[in-house]
């Protein structure tokens, strides 16, 4: 880096100082507290080359805060020109970017340019932190911007006060069954098992309340229904001669 570039950077630093000291209420966002004054530099591109320019910008002493900003950029003329032409947004918000500093710390009010290798990881972390800060900050609603109504299915914002005022309602889900022994049903009472006419079939056309009467026959448990008139003819020979005579008579 030659002396010409250093001169341009010094010019840029002067402009930054001038803008920071000027009153700029319109440029400060409403959500940012005015007590602190931070002037972050908008870094659009992270340089990938090894040449890194670390810029230390001390803030004015009347603000009571110190601003420390480090930026990495390529040491090319085109980018320096781009930086000169770009709008620098100055706010009072303090953003600390953890970038390890190697070498002697500079407390001098003049800018000091130190050539040192860039820590890509630190830069990426700083960018992510700035993104998170931007997300947590509510978006400002401008006057000329129409706010679209949320869809019906979107979540309904419930404030803590309204939730506390709600009366405790019944559990929304069926509670789980209780564990342990199940209580058996009471034994079926025999007396209650007598047939009743409730729910019984009724002859069509018969008035309700009429129950048919059942008549069962009375029969003896046992009876001699067979009367033998004569015994069956069974041949029982008394001796060998009778059997011999019988078989000879066939």
């Amino acid at each position: 880096m030659n002396s010409q570039k250093i001169a341009k950077l010094e010019t840029l630093l002067d402009r930054v100082k001038t803008r920071a000291s000027a009153p700029r209420a319109a440029a400060v966002r409403a959500a940012v507290p005015a007590a602190t004054a931070v002037a972050p530099l908008l870094v659009e591109d992270v340089p990938s080359s090894e040449d890194v320019t670390q810029l230390h910008v001390p803030m004015p002493s009347e603000a009571g805060a110190e601003m420390e900003t480090s930026s990495a950029m390529e040491a090319s003329d085109a980018e320096i020109e781009e930086m000169l032409d770009a709008d620098i947004e100055v706010s009072t918000e303090l953003i600390e970017i953890d970038v390890e500093e190697e070498g002697p710390a500079t407390t001098d009010s003049s800018a000091e340019i130190v050539l040192e290798p860039i820590d890509e990881f630190a830069v990426a972390e700083a960018l992510s932190q700035s993104d998170l800060t931007a997300e947590s900050t509510p978006e400002p609603v401008f006057a000329n911007e129409l706010e679209a109504e949320p869809p019906v299915s979107s979540r309904r914002p419930v404030s803590l006060e309204s939730a506390a005022e709600e009366e405790p309602s019944a559990p929304r889900h069926t509670p789980p069954p209780e564990s342990g022994k199940q209580v058996a049903a009471p034994p079926f009472a025999a007396a209650a098992s007598k047939p009743t006419a409730v729910g019984a079939w009724r002859e069509p056309g018969m008035p309700e309340g009429h129950v048919p009467e059942r008549v069962s026959p009375v029969l003896p448990a046992a009876a001699n229904v067979v009367k033998l008139e004569a015994e069956a003819l069974a041949f029982k020979p008394a001796n060998f001669g009778d059997l011999l005579d019988a078989t000879l008579a066939l």
Partner: protein
């Protein structure tokens, strides 16, 4: 069982010095191998069977006191003596089946498994013991069991025709019972 039981003691006597074998009454006997009957015809077999059976019946009648005593004797006594005598002769074992009024002789372990010999043997033994003219005809032969109907000449002729027609002994007996009722 009422009546004298069969006692085979001394039923066969051997006189080794004189070379004689005889029954209890002194009638001579001869031990003949069974294969000697293989070359004989039905008539010869019937002759041999009649001779053996008649000798057995005669001894039964002698033991039981005559033909009248045999006829008056119980079935068990008479059958026991008849079966005993046939066993001593080495002819066969004998049982009696009564199918209603019909009498069937059940024969096992025949020494000569020929219908001519067995029919002559059975009819001669029973007839000689009871003093009646008795005839026998085969109604069925199984592996080692043979059944013979005991009856008159006319009835045995009918039974022979029924068996020749393929009727079983059960059908034959049933037919005889039906025709007799």
């Amino acid at each position: 069982m009422t009546g004298p039981s069969f006692d085979p003691s001394g039923a066969v006597r051997f006189n080794l010095r004189s070379g004689m074998a005889s029954d209890a009454q002194g009638a001579r006997l001869v031990l003949v191998p069974t294969n000697a009957f293989d070359a004989l015809g039905d008539d010869a077999l019937a002759t041999f069977g009649t001779a053996v059976g008649r000798a057995c019946g005669t001894r039964v009648a002698a033991r039981l006191g005559g033909a009248a005593s045999v006829r008056g004797g119980s079935l068990e006594v008479v059958i026991s003596h008849l079966a005993g005598e046939l066993a001593l002769a080495g002819a066969c074992s004998l049982e009696i089946e009564r199918w209603g009024r019909a009498m069937l002789a059940v024969v096992k372990n025949e020494a000569v498994a020929k219908d001519a010999f067995s029919c002559a043997l059975l009819s001669s033994a029973i007839g000689e013991a009871a003093g009646r003219a008795v005839f026998a005809v085969s109604v069925g032969r199984e592996v080692s069991v043979s059944r013979f109907f005991i009856g008159s000449r006319e009835t045995t002729e009918r039974v022979r025709d029924l068996v020749a027609g393929g009727r079983s002994y059960g059908d034959v007996v049933a037919t005889l019972q039906g025709s007799a009722s």
